[in-house]
């Protein structure tokens, strides 16, 4: 079998080689037949809840401090009658205990999943945990044992389940859904268990027992890795602890090349929450804020105030460091229900990024207003995605002019931010001198897929996605050279900058500003300093 590569979000760093173990999805299993006796069903539910609380208390007594706090939260939720009230009401109307409990908890889970704040969204996993634990108690079935030293594959993983598993050498976690801010991700990081979340439903169709490699740094799961992948990954694994030490040593220092020349290392961010645990002195600013974090499927579009507050929190975190916020980059692989067009045959070549914003000026202008208002609180810059021709930039600039004039007339405090473009469509890179932007930021992920004509989401074409390909590097060098000649700042944000092996090529192409994932800052700085082995 050829190797299959799945990409998700990194949740806990580290590399694991082991066999897959797929956890069966219980949520769709048929409920037991109700007895038809409401009082008996209510009694069964109360006993099952009491049993679940006892189990959690037992796990809690054996758990470490961080785990105990999470379990204490779960125990408090489960002991609160407000949680079981809707289920008991439905039992009184003739439903069975299992169905009533599942429905009541599913409603709560859906409520948390729709929360705008990622921390509250992540609590859905805690509620699923409680749902399944009580359902298991009701059915009298135990939970199946997870073999030690396997890559556990599941839709999502619940904290108490995590704590009940004997993790060992080679253990790792691969989730179809999940969040890097979940309780489980917190526990996995604390225990050094590599973990990747958001791999998508495809991961659930793999078979237990397959060989797999999970890379928690890049957020990749490779099934049936071939010899070459395995060799290079094993070599990286051998370097891993050394690299971790190097990364820690360089993380908080300004980045400089061996000759002493400074390189700005900024971070990419997808919202204010993920910044909170980080120390801003680790970076030279935020080179890319993906404003899509504000626009969730199904939810109504964020209003101006909600956006303003979110941008302001990011600026507050950054202090006087620059913060480049990309206007909504929906479409392509990031559809937003109710906003993006869903009848396009090839969404990567479709109405995405600035094209969508110009098509929906009522949405775009709200974002521009919020950005101008937030700009008085820090060093904010606006970046436009998917610019292909100068009129994309000029049309956006006209909207910005209009918004600034509106705010002026209304007497609302604001500031006009610098307006730059992402260089990710080859047309922009090739004819970069046509674009009168305040700054350029090379979006390497899309630039590579458009230059190589190889879609990012087709695993078998992954070899084409090479940031070090001469065609890609020449477009980067071209953009850097034009920026130098005309005094415009050029940076690169994209996965290429987070890859220590690619960093020397980017410096060679003339780049002196990189924006990387927060988890890669130390390694990238070490790579810039030429301090990494091999």
């Amino acid at each position: 079998m050829a190797e299959l590569r799945l990409h998700g979000r990194p949740a806990s760093p580290g590399l694991a080689f082991s066999k897959l173990f797929v956890l069966p999805d219980r949520s769709s299993e048929a409920a037991q037949q109700p007895s038809g006796d409401a009082a008996a069903e209510a009694g069964r539910l109360r006993r099952a809840i009491a049993q679940a609380v006892q189990e959690l208390e037992a796990v809690s007594q054996a758990a470490a401090e961080d785990a105990r706090e999470i379990l204490e939260f779960q125990i408090a939720m489960l002991s609160d009658e407000a949680l079981s009230e809707p289920a008991l009401a439905s039992i009184a109307e003739g439903e069975g205990a299992s169905a009533s409990w599942a429905a009541a908890l599913d409603a709560q889970i859906a409520d948390y999943e729709s929360a705008g704040d990622e921390y509250f969204r992540a609590r859905a996993a805690d509620l699923q945990d409680l749902r399944d634990r009580v359902l298991n108690a009701l059915s009298g079935r135990g939970t199946e044992a997870v073999p030690a030293g396997t890559v556990l594959v599941a839709r999502d993983l619940q904290p108490s389940r995590f704590l009940g598993i004997a993790w060992g050498e080679g253990s790792a976690i691969a989730l179809a859904a999940g969040s890097p801010t979940s309780h489980v991700a917190l526990l996995a990081r604390a225990r050094g268990i590599p973990m990747v979340v958001g791999l998508g439903a495809d991961v659930l169709h793999v078979a237990s027992g397959e060989d797999a490699m999970l890379d928690g740094e890049s957020g990749t799961l490779v099934i049936s890795p071939d010899a070459q992948t395995e060799t290079s990954a094993r070599k990286r694994n051998a370097d891993f602890s050394r690299r971790r030490e190097m990364a820690a040593a360089y993380a908080l220092k300004p980045a400089a090349m061996p000759g002493g020349e400074r390189v700005a290392v900024m971070i990419n961010a997808a919202g204010p929450e993920e910044l909170q645990p980080l120390d801003a002195s680790m970076c030279d600013g935020i080179g890319l804020v993906r404003s899509e974090f504000l626009f969730h499927d199904g939810a109504h579009l964020p209003d101006e105030d909600a956006q303003y507050k979110a941008y302001r929190r990011i600026l507050d975190w950054a202090g006087d460091r620059p913060v480049t916020i990309r206007t909504l980059d929906a479409g392509g692989d990031k559809p937003v229900k109710g906003l993006t067009l869903d009848d396009e045959g090839n969404p990567f070549l479709g109405t995405r990024g600035i094209r969508l914003s110009l098509l929906k000026p009522e949405v775009f202008r709200v974002q521009l207003r919020a950005l101008c208002r937030a700009a008085i609180h820090g060093n904010l810059k606006i970046m436009l995605p998917m610019v292909a021709v100068p009129r994309d930039l000029e049309s956006a600039r006209a909207h910005l002019d209009a918004v600034v004039a509106e705010l002026q007339v209304a007497g609302v405090a604001h500031k006009r931010p610098a307006l730059g473009i992402m260089v990710e469509v080859p047309a922009a890179a090739i004819a970069i001198d046509r674009f009168d932007a305040d700054f350029y930021s090379i979006g390497s992920n899309d630039l590579i897929q458009y230059v190589m004509a190889a879609a990012r989401d087709i695993a078998t074409l992954a070899d084409y996605a090479d940031a070090a390909d001469p065609a890609v590097l020449s477009l980067i060098a071209r953009t850097v050279a034009h920026g130098r000649q005309t005094g415009r700042e050029v940076s690169l944000c994209g996965d290429a900058a987070s890859d220590p092996a690619i960093v020397p090529h980017l410096l060679q192409a003339g780049l002196r500003a990189l924006s990387v994932s927060a988890a890669s800052v130390g390694l990238v700085k070490a790579a810039i300093a030429g301090a990494l082995p091999g």
Binding site: E69, Q108, L186, Q276
Partner: protein, 103 residues
């Protein structure tokens, strides 16, 4: 922003949440535990006009999803109402005794 008032057996108070992630899991556990240590009926709202929920129920407190920067309003009714309000406002003002946390 901390205010408090008492009339008869009823008391009210309000306080701004400074906790990084708002009224989250650990802070909610602490808040409801503290509320339960008082005999008075204690309610929580995000505005003076309500809606009000039972401050002793963690399920309801979490369902508020109160973010950093929200103002919490408490109202209590009972023999120890004033003491309850003072203790709850103080807990929030002390940032739930935990400063930065993400749990």
């Amino acid at each position: 922003m901390n205010t408090a008032g008492t009339t008869g057996n009823a008391a009210t108070g309000s306080v701004l949440i400074a906790h990084e992630v708002g009224l989250h899991a650990r802070p909610s556990v602490k808040l409801t535990k503290l509320a339960k240590s008082f005999a008075s009926k204690i309610e929580l709202g995000l505005s003076e006009a309500g809606p009000w929920i039972d401050a002793k129920s963690i399920v309801k407190v979490m369902a508020f999803k109160a973010a950093k920067g929200s103002t919490l309003h408490f109202r209590a009714d009972g023999g120890d109402a004033a003491a309850a309000i003072a203790a709850l406002v103080d807990l929030v003002r002390r940032d739930f005794d935990e400063g930065h946390g993400d749990g």
